[in-house]
Amino acid sequence: MSAPASDDAAAAAGGRAPRLAGLRAVVADPMGALGLVMVVVVIAAALLADLSPHNPVAMLPRERFADPGLVHWLGTDHLGRDLFTRVLHGARIALLVALSATAISLAGGLVLGMAAGYGPRWLDSALLLVFDALRSFPTVMLALALVTLTGPSLKAVVAVVVIATLPGYGRVVRAQTMVLRHAEFVLAARALGAPAPRVLALDVMPNLIGPLLILVSMDIPVVITIEAGMSFLGLGVRPPTPSWGTILNDGYAFIRESPWPAIAGGLPIVAATLGFTFLGETLRDRFDPRLRREG
């Protein structure tokens, strides 16, 4: 255990070399290494999707329900579309939603959490109540209620993700801000007459980023699950756009004709959720075991 401990110390010091040490620490753990490989594969799939010789939405009725082979690596679906190519393009949707929704949620959680932790007590109580109320909707119910009103779209997916994950970020930011507001460097800044927004942006926020990034890596599988789940229910991405959820839905509809669409739709969801979870867990255990108790 002595080697990782020194890595932690190096990582805490900041800078370029420690980041490599952090990467080494993650790879040294079999679970972390497996997670990293899976995450890299998913990102590569999204980046390299255009290299596939097939068109993800081109229908070839004569080749419908083909088994996996040299031409169609994962077989074809009920319209003869190449499943492997659709999975690659689905990775783009999954990561696009994960990145954009998490960024919005993170920004909102930072602002509201710091306001709750640093602002007056009534504001803190009010925001906490809103966070708790938002968390009291089961996510799927929220998605169903929202889509009833807006109709299915990628925007609705992003909105559901933001509502589902923002309270979590907000609560962690609030708790950390409450500790930091009494730290000496914050008191010093305030004594020098720095206004609250400046104190929050320059003194408090940089100290929140570390724990938040670990939370984000733990939340990405949740976000990917929400996108795939909503698209599976027909509440998210609309056909023919390839999303892992819509591929799975096609597979479900034709499950008696061919097992391959159902397998092809599930595989990338499993790879992405397991990959990001393994990676996130390893990062958390290495760098911030305290987070284990929250959440």
Partner: protein, 314 residues
């Protein structure tokens, strides 16, 4: 204890009220006209106007919130647009199916997860402990709808061990149970992981305490120490987690009900969505939200009754 129960109960009521306000605010502030979405593009402006008047959507937001609030307090969740039946009746008709699924899932995941957590804690650092650790994380990360569809593909379509659709014939318990296996597998699998991790963590804490050392010094067997003494204490946080689990499993149940074409709340909302039956969706969402808040409230109260330190926390 009573003071804590009153404060915690009061908080639950406030949370439900705020959730209700958020739900109505969503209707108000979402860009676009719900009447247009609900009636479809072919509806005439007069039809939309009539619909808005019928649903009370033409009133100011505050009026809508208060009206809806007092109606809900009186047990009136509105009227189903298609069948003209009270939404509450429809919801209560479907609720037992969902509750059966949720409690079956809780039951089997606790029966498997708690012993696995004990095993991992007692054999800390062993290969078994590491295996339970990795499998728990994997079970938690796997989305329930993928488990449901792969379970359906493998055990129902390919092997033909279990039925693919429905909840079974009424009055035939074995048939009902047969239909319950695959859906509860999908809903409960993640909770095996949660419970195993939770029990392992609390067991490790308890096993290092003085009274366990004393028990060992008296020469009690490891089995007696683990199950008679340590587990009794370590089970408290798990009870709380189970309470939260009952609420969380609603999400998993929605997918299981849709994949296996089972009756239930999830299926009800999903079908209501397809027919744009908006009062039923809102009423059923409200009922599940109340259910969720009540189940976490119950869990917190049980925890407070078992452990005085919790009471001081609020």
């Amino acid at each position: 204890m009573l003071a804590y129960a009153l404060r915690r109960g009061g908080l639950a009521v406030v949370i439900v009220a705020v959730a209700l306000v958020i739900l109505i605010a969503m209707i108000q502030f979402i860009p676009g006209d719900p009447a247009a979405v609900l009636l479809g593009p072919l509806a005439s402006p007069e039809m939309r106007e009539a619909f808005r008047a019928r649903m009370g959507l033409d009133q100011p937001a505050v009026v809508q919130i208060l009206r809806f609030f007092f109606r809900v307090l009186g047990g009136d969740l509105g009227t189903d647009v298609l069948t003209n039946r009270p939404v509450l009746d429809t919801v209560l008709e479907q609720l037992p199916f969902t509750l059966t699924l949720i409690f079956a899932s809780i039951g089997w995941s606790a029966a498997l997860g708690i012993p696995l957590g004990c095993l991992a804690a007692v054999r800390r650092g062993s290969a078994a402990d590491r295996l339970v650790g990795v499998l728990s994380v994997a079970a938690i990360a796997l989305p329930s709808f993928v488990v449901a569809i792969w379970g359906l593909l493998l055990f129902a379509v390919t092997l033909d061990w279990f039925p693919t659709i429905g909840a079974g014939e009424p009055g035939q318990p074995l048939d009902r149970l047969h239909h319950l296996v695959l859906p509860s597998l999908a809903v409960g699998l993640g909770w095996v992981g949660y419970l195993a991790r939770m029990v392992r963590a609390t067991m490790l804490e308890v096993l290092s305490e003085n009274h366990i050392r004393t028990a060992r010094a008296f020469g009690l067997t490891e089995g007696t120490i683990t199950f008679r003494y340590a587990l009794k204490i370590a089970i408290v946080p798990t009870v709380v987690l189970l309470g939260i689990g009952v609420g969380h499993m609603i999400s998993g149940a929605v997918f299981a009900e849709i994949v296996f074409a089972r009756p239930g709340i999830g299926r009800l909302i999903f079908d209501a969505l397809a027919t744009r039956n908006y009062p039923t969706v809102m009423g059923a969402v409200m009922v599940t939200t109340v259910f969720y808040v009540v189940s976490t409230l119950a869990a917190d109260l049980v925890a407070a009754a078992l452990d005085p330190r919790v009471r001081a926390g609020l």
